[in-house]
C-alpha cells in the first residue's frame, strides 16, 4: 500500500528534473558528508528502478538524503541512521539486506554451494588420479571410417 501511495505521489509530483546530490545538500564537514554519501549509496530510492538515493533524481530521494544528513547532524551513528530510515520506509530501501532471519539463506547460499562444490570437485579430482585407465576403443562406425581412410 505504501508503495502504491508513493507511486501516486510521484505521478502527481511536478516533473521538475531534480539532480542527484545537490550542492545545497552537501554538509560543511567533509567527514560527515563522506558518511552521508556512504549511507545514501546503501539506500534505495523507493520509487525508481533500482537506483540508490545518491544517484536518483526523484524528489523523494532528495528528501531521504536530507533526512540522512539531519540524523547525522543530530549525532546518530550510521546504524542508527539506517534504523531510522528503515523504520519509516521498510527494509525495501536497504540495498544491503541484513543478515538475519530468512536473509541468512541469501548470505549463506554462496559459501555453502562453494563448500559443497569444492568437496565434490576435490573428490572428483582425487578419483581421476586413481581410476584405472579406460581402454581407448573405436566404435564400429569409426572402425569403418578408419578402414575407409586407410584404404584410400
Amino acid at each position: 500500500m505504501k508503495r502504491i501511495l508513493l507511486g501516486l505521489m510521484l505521478a502527481f509530483a511536478p516533473m521538475a528534473p531534480v539532480h542527484a546530490v545537490q550542492p545545497d545538500e552537501v554538509l560543511a564537514d567533509p567527514g560527515l558528508e563522506a558518511r552521508a554519501r556512504a549511507i545514501s549509496r546503501n539506500l534505495r530510492c523507493p520509487v525508481c528502478q533500482g537506483e540508490s538515493i545518491d544517484d536518483s533524481n526523484a524528489p523523494i530521494s532528495r528528501d531521504l538524503r536530507l533526512v540522512v544528513r539531519e540524523r547525522i547532524m543530530a549525532g546518530d551513528n550510521d546504524a542508527e541512521v539506517l534504523d531510522f530510515v528503515v523504520s519509516r520506509y521498510g527494509e525495501f530501501v536497504l540495498f544491503n539486506p541484513r543478515a538475519e532471519g530468512a536473509n541468512l539463506i541469501l548470505w549463506l547460499a554462496g559459501p555453502a554451494v562453494l563448500l559443497l562444490g569444492g568437496i565434490g570437485a576435490f573428490a572428483y579430482v582425487r578419483r581421476r588420479g586413481q581410476a584405472a585407465p579406460a581402454p581407448a576403443t573405436l566404435s564400429a562406425e569409426e572402425q569403418a571410417r578408419l578402414r575407409d581412410l586407410l584404404g584410400k
Partner: protein, 656 residues
C-alpha cells in the same frame, strides 16, 4: 504490403522451423540420410525468412509507417536515421525478432560450417536449434507480434526513450543477443550429444568455437552497455548490479566456465558430464536473463502480474528446454565415462577450480538477483539486494580467480608440482606484492581496493606474458623470439584474453578506489579547482537539436595555465517523451577521464556542476576489448579452420 510480406515470412519461418525440428531428428533416429539432409536447407530457409521479416520491420521503421503499432510507440519522424534503425530492436517485440533472427543465423551457420560433423550429430544439432526457433517464433506470433496494425494511424509517433538514442546503445543489444543466442549452439550440441549418447574429444573441439564466439560477443555487448552507462547516466558509474545487467553477466560467467571445461574435454577427455551440464545451464541462464528482462518480474512481482502472458510463456519455454535437457542429462550422464587421468596438482585440476569459482560466482549473482522475488513469495518481505551485497559476495570469487589464474595457466597437463610451477612466477608474484604495498603506503587512509587491484593486475598480466614466453621453450633469446611468432594463435589468444582480464580487474579497482568527485554551484565565468586541474564555466547557452532542446555549457579545463580541453556538457529535453537527459562531457585520457556534468540553474544565479576525475577509465573498456580480441585470436586458430571444414588440406595440428 511490405509489412504484410514480413508478417507472412515470419509465419512461414515458424512452419519451416517445425520441419527443421522434426524431420532431421526422425531421420537421425532412423539413420535415413534423405530425411537428415532436410536439416541444411531447412535451417537456411528459416534464416532467409526471418531475415526477410526483420528487413520488412526495419523498412517500416525507416519510412516511419505509423500504421504499425510498434512504430508509433517507438519512433518519430524527426528521429535521426541511426535511431530509427536501432529503434527496431529498442523494444520488446523488435528485440525478440532480432533474437529469432540471430537464432536462425546460428542454425544456418551450423548448416554451412558443419561440413565434417558426423551426419547424425549434425542433423540433431540443427533439429534442436530448430526447436528453439519454434518456441521463440511461437512466442512472438502469439504474444508479441511486431506486425500489428492500427486502424487509424496517427500523424506522428511517440519517439524512442531518449536514453536509448545513443550510438553505444544502438549496438549494445545486437552484440548481447549474438552472445546470448550463440550459447544456444552450445546447448544444441549438448542435447544432440546426449541423444547421440556420445561425447568425445571431437565433440569438445566442435563445441568450443561456438562457445568462444558467443563469449566474445557477450564480452563486447556487456562492455558496450557498461560504457553507455558510464557516459550517459551522468555520474560515471559503470556497473550497477541491476537485474538486467546481472542477466547478461551470469551467462558470461558460465560461458567462460564452459570455454575452459571444453578444453579439458578436447584435450584430456575428462569433465564430459560437467561440460554438458554447463552447456545446458549457460543457455538456461540466457533464457532466464530473457525472462528477467522481458517479464519485469524482478522489478516487482506486481509489474509481472500486469502482463503475465509473456512472462508465463517464457517461463514455459524455460521449463520445457531446461526440464527436457536436464532429464535427458540425468538418463545419459552415465554414458560419459571419463578417459584421461590426472593428478591432484595438474592443469586439469586448475581448470576444475576455475569452473568451480566461475559457476559458484554465477550462482551468487543469481541468488542475489532473484532473492527479492523469493523473499516476497515465500517470506512476505519486500526487500532489495543491491551493490553492497554483490560487492561483498562476488568480489572474493574474482580475487580468487585472479590469484589462481597464472598458476593454473602454466601448470602442465596430467601432473604438475606446485613448487616447480611457482618458481618462474615467483618474481612476478614478488613484483606484484611489492608494487601493491608501495601503492598502499603512498595512499594512506584510503580503501585497500586500489593496492589490491594493482597487485592482481600486475600478477595476471605479467603472468600471462610469462606464460607465452615459457611456451617458446629453452635456448637463446633470438631463437625464442623467432619461435614466439610461430606459436599457435590459440596460445596468443589465451594470454591476450588473460591479460585483458588482468587489465579489467585493475581498472575496476582503480575506478572504484581513486575516483575524485566535486559537486558545487558555479557562476557563469567562475572557476574552481578539480584535482590538479582548474575548470572554468565559460558560458551556458540554449541550443536546438534535431528532436530535443539543449542547455549547453562551455567549460574549459586548464592545468598549470595550459589548456587541456574545452568541454560542452549538456542537459537535453526531449519534448515528445517529455523527458530530460544529461549528456556528460568527457575528456578521455590515457591515465584519467575528466567527466563534467551541468546541472540545474540555481535560484541565486549560477549552475549546479558535478565534476569527476575517473582514473584509468579507458583501461576498463580496453581490458574488455583485449579479452574479446584474445577470444577472436583463438577463434582463428588453424585447427578450428581445419575442423570447420573451411580448409580441406591436411595440416599438422600444433601439439600442445
Amino acid at each position: 504490403m511490405i509489412v504484410e510480406f514480413g508478417h507472412f515470412a515470419l509465419v512461414l519461418a515458424l512452419a519451416v522451423a517445425v520441419v527443421q525440428m522434426v524431420v532431421p531428428m526422425w531421420g537421425a533416429y532412423r539413420r535415413n540420410a534423405a530425411l537428415m539432409a532436410v536439416a541444411e536447407p531447412a535451417a537456411m530457409i528459416q534464416f532467409v525468412l526471418v531475415a526477410a521479416s526483420f528487413a520488412a520491420l526495419t523498412y517500416a521503421f525507416v519510412v516511419s509507417d505509423f500504421s504499425l503499432v510498434l512504430v508509433v510507440q517507438n519512433s518519430h519522424t524527426l528521429k535521426p536515421m541511426l535511431y530509427k534503425i536501432s529503434g527496431v530492436w529498442g523494444n520488446h517485440e523488435g528485440s525478440l525478432l532480432l533474437w529469432a533472427l540471430i537464432l536462425a543465423l546460428f542454425g544456418a551457420c551450423a548448416a554451412w560450417f558443419g561440413g565434417n560433423l558426423p551426419p547424425t550429430l549434425k542433423a540433431r544439432v540443427i533439429a534442436v536449434q530448430g526447436s528453439i526457433g519454434v518456441a521463440f517464433l511461437l512466442f512472438m506470433l502469439l504474444t508479441s507480434n511486431p506486425f500489428l496494425r492500427l486502424a487509424v494511424p496517427p500523424l506522428d509517433g511517440l519517439d524512442l526513450n531518449p536514453l536509448l538514442q545513443d550510438p553505444g546503445l544502438a549496438f549494445h543489444p545486437p552484440f548481447l543477443y549474438l552472445g546470448y543466442v550463440g550459447l544456444s549452439m552450445a546447448f544444441s550440441f549438448a542435447v544432440a550429444a546426449l541423444i547421440e549418447g556420445r561425447v568425445d574429444a571431437a565433440w569438445g573441439r566442435w563445441v568450443r568455437p561456438w562457445t568462444l564466439a558467443a563469449w566474445v560477443f557477450l564480452t563486447i555487448g556487456i562492455a558496450l552497455g557498461s560504457w553507455w552507462a558510464y557516459y550517459e547516466l551522468g555520474w560515471g558509474g559503470f556497473w550497477f548490479w541491476d537485474p538486467v545487467e546481472n542477466a547478461s553477466f551470469m551467462p558470461w560467467l558460465l560461458a567462460a566456465a564452459l570455454l575452459h571445461s571444453a578444453i579439458v574435454v578436447e584435450k584430456r577427455e575428462s569433465l564430459k558430464a560437467w561440460t554438458i551440464l554447463l552447456a545446458i545451464m549457460a543457455f538456461g541462464f540466457s533464457l532466464i536473463g530473457t525472462f528477467i528482462v522481458r517479464s519485469g518480474v524482478i522489478t516487482s512481482v506486481h509489474s509481472f502480474a500486469n502482463d503475465p502472458e509473456r512472462g508465463v510463456f517464457i517461463l514455459m519455454i524455460l521449463a520445457v528446454f531446461m526440464g527436457g535437457a536436464l532429464t535427458l542429462f540425468a538418463f545419459r550422464a552415465g554414458v560419459m565415462e571419463a578417459k584421461g587421468l590426472f593428478a591432484v596438482v595438474s592443469r586439469e585440476s586448475a581448470l576444475v577450480a576455475n569452473n568451480l569459482l566461475l559457476s559458484v560466482a554465477a550462482f551468487v549473482v543469481f541468488i542475489g538477483t532473484i532473492w527479492p522475488l523469493l523473499a516476497e513469495l515465500f517470506f512476505g518481505r519486500t526487500l532489495s539486494v543491491g551493490e553492497p551485497f554483490f560487492n561483498a559476495a562476488f568480489s572474493p570469487f574474482a580475487v580468487a580467480l585472479a590469484v589462481i589464474l597464472p598458476l593454473g595457466a602454466m601448470m602442465p597437463w596430467k601432473r604438475g608440482e606446485i613448487l616447480r610451477g611457482m618458481r618462474p612466477l615467483l618474481p612476478v608474484a614478488l613484483l606484484a606484492f611489492a608494487l601493491g604495498t608501495l601503492v598502499w603506503a603512498m595512499q594512506t587512509g584510503r580503501t585497500a581496493l586500489g593496492p589490491v587491484g594493482v597487485a592482481l593486475g600486475i600478477w595476471v598480466v605479467l603472468g600471462a606474458v610469462l606464460d607465452l614466453w615459457s611456451r617458446t621453450g629453452r635456448g637463446a633469446f633470438a631463437g625464442r623470439m623467432a619461435r614466439l611468432g610461430r606459436l599457435p594463435r590459440a596460445d596468443w589468444g589465451k594470454v591476450t584474453a588473460h591479460a585483458g582480464l588482468g587489465i579489467t580487474i585493475f581498472a575496476v579497482c582503480a575506478m572504484l578506489a581513486w575516483k575524485t568527485e566535486d559537486i558545487r554551484i558555479v557562476q557563469e565565468g567562475g572557476s574552481y579547482p578539480l584535482g590538479s586541474y582548474e575548470v572554468t564555466l565559460q558560458s551556458v547557452d540554449e541550443v536546438q537539436g534535431p528532436n530535443y532542446s539543449s542547455t549547453m555549457a562551455t567549460m574549459i579545463v586548464r592545468r598549470d595555465g595550459a589548456l587541456v580541453a574545452t568541454l560542452t556538457p549538456e542537459k537535453r529535453f526531449y519534448p515528445v517523451q517529455g523527458m530530460p537527459t544529461t549528456e556528460a562531457a568527457i575528456d578521455y585520457g590515457f591515465w584519467r577521464d575528466i567527466y563534467l556534468v551541468i546541472g540545474d540553474p540555481q535560484a541565486n544565479g549560477g549552475y549546479a556542476v558535478r565534476s569527476y576525475i575517473e582514473p584509468f577509465a579507458n583501461w576498463l573498456w580496453a581490458g574488455c576489448l583485449i579479452m574479446a580480441f584474445g577470444g577472436l585470436l583463438s577463434l582463428t586458430d588453424r585447427r578450428y579452420r581445419v575442423a570447420a571444414g573451411a580448409s580441406r588440406r591436411s595440416a599438422a595440428v600444433p601439439a600442445e
